[in-house]
């Protein structure tokens, strides 16, 4: 057994232990803290699977922003006097749930162990597409060129989620601003972070977008980092969540999918196919689309965390 295998085994045990803790913990907060730790470990697992792009997305959105969403919602429930105690389910129910869980996990494990060798793969097709786009990062090429229609629809799903969250607002608050993310008093240390960490973070976000063409990174990861920076500024109360009726906000939300769709339609007219990019111009066009995707993601994620409008538009 090599050192690397021991390391992998240790990592696997740690991930499962902390995942078990997030399920077993009594309090929500303790459970979410465990979940964020678990997300960090999971992204190391993704690195071991040679998937740095996924590792970054998992760390950013899967654990970071999701964890923040859960603690923020938990704090709001508590603030509004939400009752969070309940009798645990009966032993028989837990046993049945456990049996079902073991069954499903065993079936999946069997699938994993019985995967055909060599596995079916689309890598050669992706390789062909890659040459035409002029990109170096195959994952970005798949997202924006080879399977671009999927990615565009997924952006539409994000917009729909925002619409869904906003439509839960009380009538009088419609088009108003969501509740603030932070506490009333700004703290000195937070202001320091706004001045020191946030500019650096924005730089990292732009860097990830730019290198995403050839190296791990890209629109999702860059957008998530920028979203996190905006949320840090909102937590320190230097700025507040914007009114959801604001025109710039709505334009920014739909900019990504709109530009994506428009380029795809233009490809139908000029390059001879829906979502076809003209030869030789593929890379600049892809970067152009991605720039708007970054903007939309950076705006969408904080608005999803901030929740529905809670203040009337006049206040």
């Amino acid at each position: 057994m090599s050192i690397l295998q021991v390391l992998d085994l240790g990592l696997a045990i740690l991930v499962l232990a902390i995942a078990g803790w997030t399920i077993a913990a009594r309090e929500l907060f303790a459970s979410v803290v465990g979940y964020v730790a678990y997300g960090l470990l999971l992204s190391i697992v993704w690195i071991r699977l040679h998937a740095p792009d996924v590792a970054l997305t998992e760390a950013a959105i899967g654990s970071g922003v999701t964890g923040v969403l859960l603690v923020t919602t938990g704090a709001r429930l508590r603030g509004a006097g939400g009752v969070e105690t309940a009798a645990p389910p009966r032993l028989s129910q837990r046993l049945m749930a456990g049996a079902l869980a073991v069954l499903v996990a065993a079936a999946l494990a069997a699938v994993v162990l019985l995967l055909p060798e060599p596995a079916p793969t689309l890598a050669p097709e992706a390789r062909e597409g890659l040459a035409a786009t002029g990109l170096g990062n195959p994952v970005t090429a798949v997202l924006i060129a080879y399977r671009s229609f999927d990615t565009m629809l997924e952006k539409v799903v994000l917009v729909l989620a925002v619409v869904g969250v906003w439509s839960l607002a009380p009538d009088r608050c419609w088009a108003g601003a969501p509740a603030p993310l932070g506490r009333a008093r700004p703290e000195g240390a937070l202001l320091f972070l706004d001045q020191a960490l946030v500019p650096l973070g924005i730089l990292v976000g732009v860097h990830l977008f730019w290198v995403g063409a050839d190296e791990p990174g890209g629109a999702f990861q860059a957008g998530a980092i920028l979203a996190a920076m905006w949320m840090i500024v909102m937590i320190s109360r230097l700025t507040e969540p914007p009114r959801v009726g604001a025109r710039w906000l709505r334009l920014a939300l739909i900019a990504g999918p709109a530009v994506f769709l428009a380029t795809g339609l233009a490809g139908g007219g000029m390059a001879g196919g829906f979502f076809a990019y003209p030869a030789g111009f593929a890379k600049p066009i892809i970067l152009f689309i991605e720039a708007f995707l970054v903007l939309s993601i950076a705006v969408t994620l904080p608005m999803l965390v901030a929740g529905p409008p809670r203040r009337s538009p006049q206040s």
Binding site: V6, L40, I44, T72, C173
Partner: protein, 94 residues
């Protein structure tokens, strides 16, 4: 040399992973957060070591992102933990 880097990475992961016992035991929310912060720093360190030993391209950027997001999560946690019970978030009733 690579083996030495992997041993160091495994050692660090193991120790900060053991530190996660603080997440289990608490007692306070802040103790739990500290364990996660230590895991964040240790995770970044072992990621860099593993990357250096196994040559997966672009892992430095992942570590950069991890460092930023660990900071973001810690800030949001401090914010929510403080708001705990004592003072409801402002503007809840519109």
């Amino acid at each position: 040399m690579n083996d030495a880097l992997l041993v160091a990475a495994g050692f660090i992961l193991l120790t900060v992973g053991a530190g996660l016992v603080r997440v289990l035991r608490g007692p306070g929310d802040f103790d739990r957060m500290m364990a996660v912060q230590l895991l964040g720093a240790g995770g970044v360190a072992s990621l860099l070591l593993i990357a250096s030993a196994t040559t997966v391209a672009g892992v430095e950027d992942v570590a950069l992102g991890l460092a930023l997001l660990a900071a973001f999560a810690s800030i949001a946690f401090v914010n929510s933990a403080e708001a705990d019970g004592a003072e409801p978030l402002e503007g809840e009733d519109g």
